[in-house]
């Protein structure tokens, strides 16, 4: 159900995300001080190459990681396998990627 490639991809995406999650937690703690607004979020992120790269990479890694994780759960709980399982995996990956990149573009591209 997980070949070596998917297994390693899951670990690799996890390792990439470990520092990103720590950064995201720090940003959240910092940003929610005194409430949040659209203008405040955009003021921080819009036009920033750094935030674009940070959250762009985060979205790529989490799309792979979330899709492979869901694949394991769906296989173990519902017994799905073969092409149906692959379709679900890559469908989830594509869905997360599209939604995630839309969000990153919305808050970083001026």
């Amino acid at each position: 159900m997980l070949d070596l490639r998917l297994y390693m991809l899951q670990r690799l995406s996890a390792l990439v995300m470990a520092p990103l999650v720590l950064g995201h937690l720090a940003v959240m703690i910092y940003a929610i001080q005194g409430g949040l607004s659209t203008a405040e979020i955009l003021g921080r992120t819009q036009g920033s190459v750094l935030w674009f790269a940070f959250y762009g990479l985060f979205v790529f890694a989490v799309s792979l990681h979330g899709a492979i994780g869901l694949r394991v759960i769906v296989h173990e709980w519902f017994g799905l396998k073969g092409p149906v399982l692959s379709l679900l995996t890559w469908g989830a990956c594509a869905g997360l990627l599209v939604l995630g990149l839309r969000a990153v573009f919305a808050v970083t591209v001026p």
């Binding site: 470990a18 937690l25 979020i41 979205v59 969000a103 919305a106």
Partner: protein, 113 residues
């Protein structure tokens, strides 16, 4: 006879990792969609951010942040078990130490910002 896996206390670590991962994966589409409204419909995003000031929503957010943190540390523990040639007990202690250090430094950070 070998004891069933579920009687082992670390079975809870597995369940916590799985359920937190599942919840985060299900939360992400809503999270992404709402952020994309910053461009297409800023008033809707602002409306939601105002709604998020309610104490009950803050509590839910605390839950989400907890899920993210617990999934990350659970994952680091898992990878330490798989990739590092330590004994299981050493890895559990190391994961615990990182968790406690994170808790203390975050508490400091919360007060400092």
């Amino acid at each position: 006879m070998k004891a069933p896996a579920r009687s082992h206390p670390l079975w809870l670590a597995f369940v916590l990792h799985r359920l937190s991962g599942l919840a985060l994966a299900l939360f992400l589409p809503a999270h992404f969609w709402l952020l994309s409204q910053a461009l297409t419909n800023p008033s809707r995003l602002d409306g939601f951010l105002a709604f998020a000031e309610m104490p009950l929503v803050k509590l839910a957010e605390f839950g989400l942040v907890f899920l993210l943190a617990v999934h990350m540390f659970g994952g680091l523990r898992l990878m330490a078990l798989e990739f590092l040639p330590w004994s299981d007990r050493q890895k559990t202690l190391a994961a615990g130490a990182v968790g406690v250090a994170f808790l203390i430094s975050t508490t400091f950070f919360l007060k400092a910002v």
